[in-house]
């Protein structure tokens, strides 16, 4: 017999049947179910009230943040979180407010909480990436930005991914990580939507890092989507110019110049491109006479450039030697060029050029050598000299 049978009597009538206990348990069960439902309703109602308050606090926080009052916003967001500490929107807002207040450690703590819950969330990764930029942690920057780019976005995923990629590229460019930036641009290219402005932006970034082929391709794509896009036209012109496609460059640079907005660089490039085409003796469509004239003109221009450079160099060397009490000889390259110039001078006539098939090539070789040698020591060439330099480089490229 159980102990409670002997004392207070609950079991006196129940054992051995146990009916009373069964009745008790059924009663308890009924009370439990009723209480569970009742408390459930109470909790739901309370939660709903708390959610309303949380929403209100969140809204006020957002307003404060927009009004440039991050400190006040922090208080509102914290209040919102006190009602629902798992609310990701409030957590993110709070982290953003803390970043605005330059309280990076705290912000990181909240962002990490969010990241622990949703490591694939694009927004959270982007914020962590931005935080890493502020902390100069390049490895973390790459990690979080890539997470953001390949992560999940609740709204407008394509646009958000592109924006994140642009931010990353800008960071890489600012840190001189040109190769990484280029690879990011190349990765970005296939997924770009049909948006002329976006292609233009990508083209400009390619242009900035010196990938002219991709830049030209992007600008052309942008123009295909919007032929009135003057930035794309200018960009296409510049890219073509850099690639040595001067006819195409003139076409696009002309188009860009026709618009109201254009920059000095566009204008200079257009003039240089024209000069290139007007003075290039290697163009196929030229007559023999015209080719001779261009060679002679180039030779004269190169000779003038060489003499000016030697004179300029001698003047500066003289000043330096008088200061150092020692004579500085003219550089060997310039002396050689001067010698070659003297050797060629007698031969450089239209008749000689016609008679001697080796002479045009030797003359143009001298021209290109002069322009290349004088470029680093006598300042950047302008006008015809610049055109000749570009022709030479373009020619070298073709020959290579």
């Amino acid at each position: 017999m159980s102990s409670y049978d002997t004392t207070v009597g609950m079991g006196e009538t129940s054992f051995p049947s146990g009916r009373r206990e069964a009745l008790i348990l059924f009663t308890l069960l009924a009370i439990t179910v009723t209480a569970l439902i009742g408390v459930g309703a109470l909790v739901r109602r309370f939660r709903s009230w708390q959610n309303t308050l949380a929403h209100r606090m969140n809204q006020r926080g957002e307003l404060a943040l927009k009004a440039g009052q991050p400190k006040l916003a922090i208080n509102f967001f914290r209040s919102s979180l006190s009602f629902n500490r798992e609310d990701p929107a409030a957590l993110l807002n709070l982290a953003q407010s803390l970043i605005a207040e330059n309280r990076l450690d705290e912000a990181e703590s909240y962002l990490r909480t969010l990241w622990d819950r949703q490591p694939q969330d694009g927004t959270v990764n982007l914020e962590l990436g931005r935080l890493a930029i502020r902390r100069h942690q390049p490895i973390e920057v790459l990690r979080y930005y890539h997470n953001a780019i390949y992560g999940v976005w609740s709204s407008d995923p394509i646009q958000n991914r592109i924006s994140a990629r642009f931010e990353l590229i800008n960071f890489l460019l600012q840190n001189n990580s040109i190769t990484q930036a280029e690879s990011e641009l190349i990765s970005m290219e296939p997924g770009l939507p049909l948006d002329s402005q976006l292609h233009t932006r990508v083209g400009q970034l390619f242009l900035g890092i010196g990938d002219f082929r991709n830049a030209e391709s992007e600008f052309l794509q942008a123009l295909k989507l919007d032929r009135n896009n003057e930035l794309a036209a200018a960009g296409a012109g510049k890219a073509s110019f850099r690639l040595g496609h001067y006819r195409t460059a003139i076409l696009y640079l002309d188009a860009a110049m026709a618009k109201e907005r254009h920059d000095q660089q566009t204008q200079d490039m257009l003039e240089t491109a024209r000069l290139v085409l007007e003075n290039d003796p290697f163009l196929r469509s030229l007559s023999a006479l015209e080719r001779q004239e261009r060679i002679l003109k180039a030779y004269r221009a190169a000779g003038t450039r060489l003499q000016a450079c030697i004179k300029n160099k001698s003047g500066s060397d003289l000043a330096a030697s008088s200061a150092n009490q020692a004579a500085v000889p003219l550089s060997e390259d310039l002396q050689n060029l001067s010698t070659r110039e003297r050797q060629l001078r007698a031969q450089m006539t239209p008749a000689q050029l016609m008679r001697n098939p080796e002479l045009p090539a030797a003359a143009m070789s001298f021209v290109f050598a002069v322009e290349e040698q004088t470029d680093p020591i006598c300042g950047e060439p302008a006008g015809l000299d610049e055109a000749l330099l570009l022709i030479g480089r373009n020619r070298e490229g073709v020959e290579r």
């Binding site: 159980s2 102990s3 409670y4 002997t6 004392t7 207070v8 009597g9 609950m10 079991g11 129940s14 054992f15 051995p16 049947s17 146990g18 009916r19 206990e21 069964a22 008790i24 348990l25 308890l28 439990t32 209480a35 569970l36 408390v39 459930g40 109470l42 909790v43 309370f46 708390q50 308050l53 209100r56 606090m57 208080n75 509102f76 914290r78 209040s79 979180l81 006190s82 009602f83 500490r85 798992e86 309280r103 450690d105 705290e106 703590s109 909240y110 990490r112 909480t113 622990d116």
Partner: protein
């Protein structure tokens, strides 16, 4: 001979009618299930559910009061920061003095007293009163926590249910701790800690008899609580990686600081509480209000973090929101505020404030350590969490609970080594400087003497080996003849001799019996055939001396034998030996 239509009683027994069989089939499982122990276990589940529901409502009530009195902003401001705790203090004082006189304090001691003094009786009115007054006090900003009241509410509910079901006195006595565990588990969202705390602090001893019920109620309570309020751990910190063992030194420093803070905290309470209690009754109407006013002023003048339970600020501290100076100030002010609230007789718990102080202290030590040694791997949040455990161990003096509590509230096992280091040091420091634990001190101030697990741990337990002596005479063998035994006893002293019964144990024989057998001419008989083979109970040297007392009352000489070799006699013990040993202890 019976007719075919009249079945014999045997036939009736072996082939009962379908109705009877059906009734038996129904009643057998009931019979099985409702044996008292099992019924009590089932009841424990219900107690867990009811306690959890009560605690959920309690938490909603606290939050409702807070929102109504202090507003929805996390950092309350304005005059109501001062007015709310002051005015509510007056209301609470009236309720405590006139309506619910047994709700003062935290509730842990009251539950323990119910177990040991009042046969598990906790008036239902007390549970209701605790609910209302604690919700008002904590919600208005008094520096107290909801855990200890939850424990008492759970115990009160369980006690009321036990009385309603007319359980036996034994079970009624045990039902209060079962409810207490459920209440605490729901309040902390930590079933293991709740079970350990109830064993360490309420029951005061490891009792296998009640453990099952306590665990069941705690688990069912946590399940229900999580269903309503979510299962997220209370605090979340990143995994802790101890890169250098030297980092443990900092956690050791935190343990020392925590131990000292715990001593300051408990001494402040121990000093002020009896003095305020002894003041005229009229002043007791104003004590909670004055405490509320002072706490409100602390809040008004820039430190509202010390108001209420303060969990949200622990979370902020873990997220590096405060400078180390601020963390230190908050730890100090929380000690002041909680002492004021508690000694004024305002109902409410000390768990949450203890965790708050510990977190702030931990954060301070962690932040200072990071400033001095920037290479330290542990974040400030780790130190906050360890600090919570440290103060729990030092102040509440529940070392096991403190370790598991930290693991459960953070859901992070990687922190265990720093926690053990910190908690152990805090416990040792606190015990050395403040020998009486806080709950024992409070019960003694209330004129009660309740058992304490810590004191039991420190007691020197007397064992059989402390009182046993070598066997005085020869040990006889069962196959010896009476003649041989007689000869051996002639040179021996003493009147009672042990006889080894082969493999079956030991018995004893008196000198008088052997002499009588020899005189009767039974010298050739073996002892086995001549004396009755009444087996003696035996003891082992490591058993508690009180066990020996039980056996020595019935037997003049009890053999003490080796646990590994039952034939090896380590010594003997008699009732006189036991009593002499106890007398010696008294003299010492």
């Amino acid at each position: 001979m019976s007719t075919p239509t009249a079945p014999s009683p045997i036939a009736e027994q072996t082939h009962p009618e379908p109705t009877v069989r059906y009734r038996r089939a129904i009643t057998w499982p009931l019979h099985f299930a409702f044996q008292e122990e099992r019924f009590f276990l089932i009841l424990s589940v219900f107690i867990g559910i009811f306690s959890a529901l009560a605690v959920v409502c309690f938490r909603l009530a606290i939050e409702w009061c807070r929102l109504k009195m202090l507003g929805p902003r996390i950092t309350p401001s304005g005059l109501h920061v001062i007015l709310a705790p002051t005015l509510v203090g007056l209301v609470v004082a009236v309720l405590v003095l006139h309506v619910f006189p047994a709700v003062r304090g935290s509730g842990v001691n009251q539950t323990k007293a119910a177990l040991y003094i009042y046969n598990g009786y906790i008036p239902f009115r007390t549970a209701i009163g605790k609910f209302i007054t604690s919700a008002l006090a904590i919600g208005s900003g008094q520096s107290l926590g909801p855990e200890d009241p939850s424990l008492q509410i759970g115990a009160g509910l369980a006690s009321a249910l036990g009385r309603r079901l007319k359980l036996s006195r034994d079970k009624l006595r045990l039902i209060a701790p079962v409810g207490a565990a459920a209440g605490l588990a729901a309040a902390f969202n930590a079933p293991i800690s709740a079970v350990l705390f109830v064993i360490e602090e309420i029951i005061g001893r490891w009792s296998a008899g009640i453990l099952g019920s306590v665990v069941l109620s705690a688990i069912s309570s946590v399940v229900v609580m999580r269903w309503y309020l979510g299962s997220e751990p209370m605090f979340r910190i990143p995994p802790v990686e101890l890169i250098r063992p030297q980092e443990l030194v900092v956690y050791g420093v935190l343990g020392l600081a925590g131990g000292l803070a715990a001593v300051v905290f408990s001494r402040a309470i121990g000093f002020l509480r009896p003095r305020l209690k002894a003041m005229p009754r009229l002043t007791q109407y104003f004590q909670p209000a004055i405490a509320g006013l002072l706490i409100g002023l602390i809040g008004y003048f820039g430190f509202p973090q010390v108001m209420g339970a303060g969990y949200e600020y622990i979370d902020q501290a873990m997220r590096n929101q405060f400078t180390w100076q601020m963390l230190g100030i908050l730890a100090g002010l929380k000690i002041v505020a909680t002492t004021l609230s508690f000694v004024s007789g305002t109902p409410g718990g000390m768990f949450a404030p203890t965790l708050f102080i510990g977190a702030m202290l931990g954060g301070t030590v962690g932040a200072v350590a990071h400033t001095l040694f920037p290479h330290l791997a542990g974040s400030v949040s780790t130190y906050c969490l360890v600090g919570m455990g440290v103060l729990f161990a030092g102040f509440l003096r529940a070392p096991l609970t403190s370790v598991f509590m930290v693991l459960e509230v953070s859901g992070n096992y990687s922190i265990i080594v720093p926690v053990i280091v910190g908690n152990t040091l805090a416990y040792v420091v606190s015990r050395a400087l403040q020998p009486t634990p806080i709950f024992d001190m409070l019960t003694r101030q209330d004129g009660l003497e309740l058992p304490s697990l810590e004191e039991q741990r420190e007691e020197n337990i007397l064992r059989v080996e402390d009182a046993m002596r070598p066997a005085a005479g020869p040990v006889l063998n069962v196959d010896e003849t009476v003649e041989q035994a007689y000869r051996r006893l002639q040179q021996a002293i003493g009147d009672i001799f042990l006889v080894r019964l082969g493999s079956s144990g030991w018995t004893s024989v008196t000198r008088e019996v052997i002499i009588k057998l020899w005189e009767e001419g039974k010298g050739d008989l073996t002892l086995g055939s001549a004396i009755p083979r009444r087996r003696l109970p035996h003891l082992h040297p490591d058993l508690a001396l009180e066990v020996a007392l039980r056996y020595a009352q019935k037997t003049p000489l009890v053999p003490v034998i080796n646990r590994a070799d039952f034939h090896k006699l380590e010594g003997v013990i008699s009732q006189e030996d036991v009593l002499n040993r106890y007398k010696l202890v008294e003299r010492e």
